[in-house]
């Protein structure tokens, strides 16, 4: 623990050895989201104060917490081999004081923070997930764990949207970005339109800065981008629209690798099938 980041900020909730390294869960009071936030971290066996390792941030999808990826992705053996830490934050602010969708809908409110900074009531006080992921969590991780400031970012579905938008807006902060089944063009699909209209309001100009296809169309990026998408994904046509990313990359002259994976659906069975390849992709740039 470093002196400028008191250990009392971080309450450890669990620890389990896995693949020779450690899976741990923590809770901490977050200033950006004005509530206690939970995250999980995997530390590979070679991580130590004398041998700091880079970090892959994993952003999960709708309804998920810090646990889904860590329990279901099967990523630890490869991460241990590559010497890569993985941090999985929660998908929204949490707590009795945090507003939720009035009807308990799964795609708004708790578990559905969309990795943006809300500007509209009642969301704007706590739903500041963009600032949390970009500005608050990495310094906390880098102060408390044996990691470098080299960061990669990836995610699934809503978290794929989060990873792409955050990396495209902060290319200096991440060495590479990948996504599974991302919501590529949220301004133009039901999940995104619902969330953005509640969190950001009806001025659609404000939506563009959280739309991966719009960001990639507007600016050429030097970041390496890998996207995997199953062609048997029930959400593909209505919500995900990977072609919008391909078109955007063509407009800006950016490089993008989109792999359509035949027969795969939207589940963690899909993620677990290709996560090793994503870790190896990121390791190339983190080295």
């Amino acid at each position: 623990m470093s002196s400028n980041a008191p250990s009392t900020q971080l309450a450890q909730l669990s620890q389990a050895k896995v693949a020779g390294g450690w899976h741990q869960q923590y809770q901490h009071p977050a200033s950006t989201t004005a509530c206690n936030m939970r995250f999980a971290i995997f530390l590979p066996p070679n991580a130590s104060a004398a041998n700091k390792v880079p970090v892959l941030y994993w952003l999960s999808g709708l309804t998920c917490s810090d646990e889904n990826f860590m329990q279901k992705a099967g990523a630890f053996k490869m991460a241990a081999q590559l010497g890569m830490a993985i941090v999985a934050p929660d998908t929204s602010p949490r707590g009795d004081e945090v507003p939720d969708a009035p009807d308990g809908a799964y795609d708004l409110g708790l578990g559905a923070g969309f990795y943006l900074n809300a500007t509209q009531a009642p969301w704007q006080r706590h739903y500041q997930m963009y600032d949390y992921i970009v500005h608050e969590l990495p310094p906390l991780i880098e102060a408390h764990f044996p990691v470098t400031t080299q960061r990669a970012i990836s995610g699934h579905s809503m978290g794929g949207h989060g990873a792409l938008t955050i990396a495209l807006k902060n290319p200096q902060r991440y060495t590479s970005v990948s996504a599974f089944s991302p919501i590529c063009h949220p301004s133009n699909c039901p999940w995104g339109q619902k969330a953005f209209s509640h969190y950001l309001g009806e001025d659609k100009a404000s939506w563009l800065e959280y739309d991966a296809a719009e960001l990639l169309k507007a600016n050429k990026t030097e970041l390496s981008i890998l996207v995997d998408q199953g062609d048997a994904d029930n959400f593909l046509a209505e919500q995900l629209n990977p072609q919008s990313l391909v078109d955007a990359a063509a407009v800006s002259g950016s490089a993008l690798t989109l792999r359509m994976q035949p027969g795969y659906d939207h589940s963690y069975f899909f993620i677990s099938s290709f996560i090793d390849e994503h870790l190896a992709f990121h390791a190339k740039y983190l080295a």
Copy 2:
């Protein structure tokens, strides 16, 4: 589907592609347990009518269903590589008509069938998990899926107890057996004593045929047995007692490989760390 096993017996509940193969869930009316039973199967990519593959039966622990192993063990890449199917049955009979522990305890009744044939009321009608696993499920699997009659068996905790006792009692039916954190000597630990007294009654002679340490002590086995046990497992001292297995193997002159794994606990993080080695162990004998 073969003609003597009508397809109407099996209702498919889900299917997802994973690691190039398929994860599927089914429900079927079971005669042994007098209720509908659910199981999951992983079929590796090379399985076909022209290329039948062997099957590893995985028995899960207390509170689990067919889903825990399939979602959390991370076994599919290695199983795909080895060309091995995996079948994960449920851990008890299920349904409104099936009795549960009166107090809803997690270690008796639903989710806690202990892979035995109950003889006592109210359990004896449905809690016939031993017959289900040994006599009903394998013929069903072998009639409906592209698998051979070569079988290995493994499991965790209560399911490790199940795998060991079932293999020791039926060495001709299984080519090898392994276990993670098994309840090795249930006649002599709280979980086993509670379950056995309810399911089998107070005559402790009847307990011995479902006690791995007693079975291994009484008869030399030619089966290859691999057991992994974490030394940071909260249940190690009170419930699991792997030393009883070591002692029993010495008495009967049987071979047993017990690996104490430093730092690992009772969770699926432990299982996921070593499942590839268990699959490779079984593959040696299934070949």
